[in-house]
Amino acid sequence: MTKIHYSTIDGRGLGFLALLGLFGAMILGGLGASYYMEHNGHIVTGMTNQIVWGTPHVFAVFLIVAASGALNVASIASVFGRAMYKPLGRLSGLLALTLLAGGLAVLVLDLGRPDRLIVAMTYYNFKSIFAWNIFLYVGFFGVVIVYLWFMMEHRFNRFSKQIGLFAFVWRLVLTTGTGSIFGFLVARHAYDAAIMAPMFIIMSFAFGLAIYLLVLMAAYRWTGRPLGDAVVTRLKNLLGVFVAAVLYFVMVYHLTNLYATQHHGIERFILLDGGVYTQVFWIGQILIGGIVPLLIFFTPLFGRSRFMTAVGASLVVAGGLAQVYTIIIAGQVFPMDLLPGMQVSSSFSDGQFAQYTPSLPELVLGVSGIGIALALTTFALKALPFLPDSLSDDLVDPHAASRAKAETAVEAEAAGA
């Protein structure tokens, strides 16, 4: 393969500044929302004693899950030895770091006492999956930074397989930890399921790759660097496989629940008569986040359209948010069984479907996580050489390029004949 040359982006134009300004505004909004929430208390949010985790958690969990998935592109090169993915590795590591930073920032800024972050870093209860996650997340930063360093420093390139394998295992454990936050909740019908951990892993594959693809396409378009069909098509097809796998896991989760009579209530709520939550599930998660992207990715009509690929990846992101919303919010809306078999009511909303409307501060805080991730990414691209100068077909995959040429020649011949 031809030697790949990486360089920083120019970052002097108006567009670059406008982009940073936009992300900066998102971050400032989030900080303001957080201050407003901490100053007045969570009374100014839509969260209650029934819906204890709200919209900020949807964004935070989405970003954290996507972060581990964004690293996959690098893993495919280092661990599974696919040469074509090698030039894509640096951006993959970078996005893994920035998405995680965005997600964690939202999570911390939503705490009842964010000023006590130091307590969370110094007092540990090792039976808590949350405590484990603190180590897994902080460790992930360290591992990925070393991984990036080894990818970028020629002398250490030869170790990138080892560190890549380590990072890959670490990210699998990390996403297992994130899924287990819900999998380990014994009391709630929607959770308490071992499938949560692997489902979160496959969700991370899809969400992370969708964001990777979008950032890659935007960065190459806006900096005028060549990006060939070989890379885009390969990533798009892989994303399609991941999206299908997410649908499969969701189906298994619901089929398992449907078999057990005790879970019929929650299934009826999500699948049939949960109002807005049923709509978020079917229209948001399944249709927009699953079926439509699959049609876009695998219909020959849209096969080579960059625009449609971007639309498909954006839909995967939107559907991912819908999926996390369904898991976190709808899972809490459905009442817990205090006295199984009995109808209960109380002043504390026992036996009732909880009411929840996302409030503006929650939404602004959640979106600021995306702002943080993208601002850090944009800045890093200017500071260090993460992006190859070119990802044109003849550079990344000479065989594909020559195949394409041959095909064109055959087509031309056929047309001529």
Binding site: N40, G41, V52, W53, L111, R116, G341, S349
Partner: protein, 243 residues
């Protein structure tokens, strides 16, 4: 008498260990005397027995007494106000049989809230009382996700007029303390049990589940009782009759 090196080391270790452990052994003996200043021990397991047959629908004496005792104020916002104890009306949809019961923190032996708490702010005293250390609670609300009984409340807004015995703070989680200040003072009861008794219902009995002579232990031994969500196998300190 001559000691080999091995014997000398063995004897020396035993002597050092004895010196180190002796005060500890003495402490345990002192604690058994149950003087107020003594440390909490696992000899006690505090709990409640609630007879739903004696609990009357619409009566909220226990709730009011608890909230008065612990300074749990009502802002008129039922979705976000803290409720350390609440009255639950239950009805069997098959038979129509209805009854009323107070629900609070059930002080599990293996509390899910303590399991999930990242900082250890949720903890269980060895005498069975489950509490939140307000100094290290970061307000993540994972315990509220984990509690099967919805016993916990998050403080959503500024609070004033707190009771010295029940410190509370915006941004942290709290729940029934089993009137730990009264227990430690040796009152031998909780605000809810007291109020229920004063109202003439006597539906709530407080006591030491480990003391075979206590009323609660005697009744639990001789009468039928259940745990809420017994399927979760949490061994709750609060037990119910008549469910």
């Amino acid at each position: 008498m001559s000691l080999s090196r091995r014997e000398f080391l063995g004897a020396g270790t035993a002597a050092v260990a004895g010196t180190a452990l002796a005060p500890g052994v003495r402490l345990i003996e002192l604690a058994a005397a149950r003087r107020p200043e003594d440390a909490v021990t696992a000899k006690q397991r505090w709990g409640l027995l609630i007879d739903t047959g004696k609990c009357s629908e619409g009566c909220t004496a226990c709730v009011e007494a608890c909230h008065e005792e612990n300074g749990v104020t009502d802002h008129g916002k039922p979705l976000t106000d803290a409720q350390w104890i609440r009255k639950v009306e239950a009805r069997d949809p098959q038979t129509g049989y209805a009854h009323s019961l107070p629900v609070m923190c059930l002080h599990c032996e293996t509390p899910p809230c303590v399991d999930v708490c990242p900082t250890g702010a949720s903890f269980r005293r060895v005498d069975g009382i489950v509490l939140v250390d307000k100094h290290i609670c970061i307000g993540c609300r994972y315990c509220m996700m984990a509690c099967p009984y919805k016993a916990r409340s998050f403080i959503h807004e500024n609070i004033t007029d707190q009771k010295p015995d029940a410190p509370r703070g915006k941004g942290t989680v709290e729940s029934c303390t089993l009137c730990v200040h009264k227990v430690d003072r040796g009152d031998g009861t909780t605000a809810c049990a007291e109020a229920c008794k004063e109202d003439g219902h006597q539906a709530i009995v407080f006591g030491d589940l480990n003391d075979s002579q206590s009323e609660i232990a005697r009744r639990l031994k001789s009468e039928s009782s259940v745990q809420l969500r017994a399927d979760l196998n949490l061994n709750t300190g609060v037990r119910y009759q008549g469910l």
